[in-house]
Subunit: 209 residues, 2 copies
Amino acid sequence: MSKLVNMNLKLFLNELASSSPAPGGGSTAALAGALGAALSSMVCNLTIDKQGYEAVQHDIHEMRTQSEQLRKQLTELIDKDTEAFNEVMKALKMPKETDEQKEKRRTAMQTAFKHAADVPLTTARTCVQLMDIARVVAEKGNKNSISDAAVSALMAQAGVQAAILNVRINLGSIKDTTYTQHISTEIQTLLQTAMEKTSDILGIVEQSL
Amino acid sequence: MSKLVNMNLKLFLNELASSSPAPGGGSTAALAGALGAALSSMVCNLTIDKQGYEAVQHDIHEMRTQSEQLRKQLTELIDKDTEAFNEVMKALKMPKETDEQKEKRRTAMQTAFKHAADVPLTTARTCVQLMDIARVVAEKGNKNSISDAAVSALMAQAGVQAAILNVRINLGSIKDTTYTQHISTEIQTLLQTAMEKTSDILGIVEQSL
């Protein structure tokens, strides 16, 4: 299959809706984050060199650099999530006749499930980072585009929530309890942080609307 | 500009991040909804003709028809939102030398702002409709894809919240208070309904995870 990010929106939506389980919620989470990052960048671009925003130029330039970096990462995670899912499917289809084959398959599956949990975990972490940018953009960016700063945060929030569900789905198949306990704790923290940050940003926007 | 839905994901994200104010949060809201609809359709497709799901085939077929209909509408709203914004920009640039020109411009702007509020309002309404489908899909669909039903609801929720912000931004420029009061009441109801429905769906999914 060609890279998802090279598909047009219509085709990507068709692919998502199809009976193939990937792309699914994990790639969608990464796309939601990438959309959020693009919106923070847009507000920066609409603030740079604009009259009345002289005092924030340095900060906004810095925010644009950061949001473009996160957009790049989140865009890559769209395909990475589907690739990780396909690796799980590949491991599942490995032969399991002999004891040796069974052991090899078991190891491959555990590795694949861990990777399939790690990818949306990275998506969730990256979306939380994006919220710090969206906050500065909401506070200091062009007031005509303040709703776009809020939508940036909302997309990042949906990205975190969706990504975490995809982490949890995979945790259920991982036997390494040290790993699963560690990740479980991190996703709880990420989710709570994301909710607080989003609510904070929406509060800032509410004052300006 | 060519249609947004014919752009590949990378190019659409570039266009969104650019210094052009459209596409912005409104088109993103519609895309979030379309992604949500596609995921509900995917879970239906992964449930149809599957062993163990014989009893729900009729309902799931019905849900797929409905989610595909909503996906079509939400996909169209991606471009409609940007077109509506461009109409506002066009009206703003109309000549305003003579009294007649001023009056003509004023009328065109009011029409354009109402349309620019109506489009995201339709997005919000459609995303709320999608939640009723996501709920049935979460309850009756393939349990292996239950996280995708949840992500469907999360994308619909982000779509509602983002669309409503875009309605509100435009309401501020509309002089017809009968219209603005009517819409303000509706968006409050839509937002509350969306939050309740999403929380309900996430609760169902939580029991199965």
